[in-house]
């Protein structure tokens, strides 16, 4: 974002478009998590969109949450069930009925 560099120096003379401080950081974080989890309401989505153009801490939190989620989903190995176990289970239930 090019905007952040230009405004940091002139924050006193004009209305800042980009907040360097977030007053509701914990609430914003919770909202960001709801959104990334697909659990947010339209209202919360709209609020996030507004924050993402006006609040530097929210932008960073959003990227971090997204990154952590990606680390978990894409980078961690997904263990597959060993074939042997599948076979064992299938044969064990046959002796049940």
């Amino acid at each position: 974002m090019q905007t952040s560099s230009s405004l940091s120096s002139s924050s006193s003379d004009s209305k800042p478009q980009m907040k360097e401080h977030c007053d509701h950081q914990v609430d914003c974080l919770k909202m960001i998590q709801l959104i990334l989890d697909g659990e947010a309401t339209d209202q919360q989505l709209a609020r996030l969109k507004a924050n993402l153009v006006s609040c530097q801490p929210c932008i960073q939190m959003y990227h971090l949450e997204q990154e952590v989620k990606e680390l978990l989903t894409k980078r961690m190995e997904k263990k597959c069930c060993p074939e042997q176990l599948v076979a064992t289970i299938k044969s064990k239930i046959l002796t049940f009925s």
Partner: protein, 234 residues
């Protein structure tokens, strides 16, 4: 909250099929996991043939996810093996309490998680340092502490490899690890998680929030110890 199942035990008492093993059927999904359309079809009487069909068509497709869940809970391949096997045998034994076409994955995950708490953790090497449900109270008592944001940049952790992420995840108390696995790795909704874990949705939300804060702290420690930290930031 309104999502806690208000369905009473009527349909459970109307389900005479697994008498005998009184202690163990409380471990099993009693039907809340999914919507039950009518209480007047209490016991789903499957023929043997139908049982195998349901088992193969609805349960077996989730076995990789189940194994991964078991492995992430136990952090041990042999234990994961045992846990998955126990769970599937239980699922088969109690198949009459599963309604065909409903959320089999959530149903199975709930059995696995209950087996883990009830059977596995007792004999596990993991010392009884924190009890599954105790974690909640422990961390509730420091609410101010858990309601915060972790000072960390996305770029600081973006170079971590899978094993490092796994180590960080494994270092969390199992309660917190569980919600992260269910949500981020398995993609369950909050509502499904509430049913799998037998907790209200509000607790799912707050536990996730805390779990992620803990995880980020671990990741931060990891990243800085690996020297991934400062790239060009000051």
């Amino acid at each position: 909250m309104s999502d806690t199942p208000t369905r009473d035990d009527q349909d459970r008492t109307g389900m005479p099929d697994h008498g005998g093993s009184t202690g163990s059927d409380q471990l099993l999904p009693d039907g809340d996991t999914v919507e039950q359309p009518s209480a007047d079809t209490p016991a789903r009487r499957y023929t043997d043939e139908q049982k195998y069909l349901v088992f193969n068509k609805e349960f077996m497709p989730h076995i990789d996810s189940m194994y991964n869940f078991a492995f992430r809970l136990t952090t041990d391949e042999d234990d994961a093996n045992d846990l998955v096997q126990d769970t599937y045998l239980k699922a088969f034994r109690f198949i009459s309490s599963f309604e065909q076409g409903t959320n089999a994955k959530a149903w199975l995950f709930r059995i696995l998680k209950n087996s883990f708490i009830n059977d596995y953790r007792k004999k596990s090497k993991e010392p009884a340092k924190v009890d599954y449900q105790d974690v909640e109270t422990t961390y509730n008592s420091e609410d101010a502490e858990s309601e915060h944001t972790v000072d960390l940049r996305a770029e600081s952790v973006s170079d971590l490899i899978g094993d490092e992420v796994a180590t960080a995840l494994n270092s969390l108390p199992v309660d917190f690890r569980t919600v992260i696995i269910l949500c981020d790795i398995e993609g369950f909704t909050y509502e499904e998680m509430a049913k799998i874990l037998d907790i209200p949705i509000g607790t799912v939300r707050s536990r996730l929030h805390r779990a992620r804060n803990l995880l980020k702290e671990k990741l931060r420690d990891y990243a800085s110890s690996m020297g991934y930290n400062e790239e060009s930031e000051e």
